[in-house]
């Protein structure tokens, strides 16, 4: 199972770097999804490792929560885009000043 977990950690790292470096809010969101998927892979791999279905149930709940999160997150991005005409995370900096 080690290769699966290593792959999952590599994908998680890539998602992490993507969240930190990309500017487009939608791409940042995609990288968050990538991180969630990576953790799901680890959960399912450990479910097989231990012969226990709890990991798969948890992965299922992660998917449900991710679906809800995407709906709200994309609605927020749409609202910001409508008022500011930009989907860049750097432009939403009104609280800074």
């Amino acid at each position: 199972m080690t290769p699966y977990v290593v792959l999952s950690s590599i994908l998680f790292t890539i998602g992490c770097v993507g969240v930190l470096t990309r500017r487009n809010a939608i791409v940042v969101f995609m990288c968050v999804e990538l991180m969630l998927n990576a953790s799901n892979l680890a959960l399912v791999a450990f479910a097989k490792q231990h012969g226990n279905l709890d990991g798969q149930i948890t992965a299922f709940f992660v998917m449900v929560v991710a679906a809800a999160e995407v709906v709200v997150g994309l609605a927020i991005i749409m609202t910001i885009f409508r008022t500011r005409r930009s989907a860049s995370v750097d432009d939403a900096s009104l609280l800074k000043y």
């Binding site: 290593v6 993507g18 470096t21 500017r23 487009n24 990538l34 012969g51 226990n52 749409m78």
Partner: protein, 270 residues
Amino acid sequence: MITFWILAPIMVLAALGILFVRKAVHAALLLAVVMISLAVLYLTLQAPFLFAVQIIVYTGAILMLFLFVLMLVGVDASDSVVETIKGQRFLAILGGLLLGVVLVVGLSQMSLGAVVGLDDANANGNVSALADILFSRYVFAFEVTSALLITAALGAMVLAHRERLVPKPTQADLAAQRMQDYAASGKHPGNLPTPGVFARHNAVDTPALLPDGTASESSVSRVLAARGTVRSAPTMADDITEIEKQLGQAPHAGRDASAPATTEEEAPAT
């Protein structure tokens, strides 16, 4: 394990591609590659239910939602390369590399022991085994999930809702406004000229020609003009002169290439 070694490089490459591609649509498609490969990996990990859910919910619903929003926001809303915080990108990549190295080295040194496998747990089928657990031990979490989903749907509706600040203009209002515009600025109250240059081109990206031979800007959609895909009328006139040259006809007297509207056929002598 063969499936894993085929899919793992594809997934890592596609995930790295998300970091480097400039257009968000390409990032979404690469994410689809990662997610579908992940679904196949679930199949090799004896999770056929999650395989189906991954494809239907993640690739089917969530990713399509992403593409939908991309379409609304505009596909060419690409990233700026300007750094707002100095050295942030470098530090982020350094931190990411550090995290990756620590995770990979740490995980590859740990020993997990023999794989138990899910053959026993999946004896009556994966779906019914999952349902047994979901509706007994995790039934409260499952019910709470419904509250979460309703909250998310309501939240999206509230965020997307826009209160109408002014009453909706009726047809009578619009007509009065058009006449007022005509009186004030001389804007033509009728409908806009349709695109297309006589009978040669009637595509929407071809501007209509005014009687003096100039292209009418109001005859093509603003969107096409903003994209810069409007065909110019003089190039079409070049077409005509080219054909006329091939036919060996002398060009009409008093017509130059910059005034293409005067290409009407001469009335046949009767």
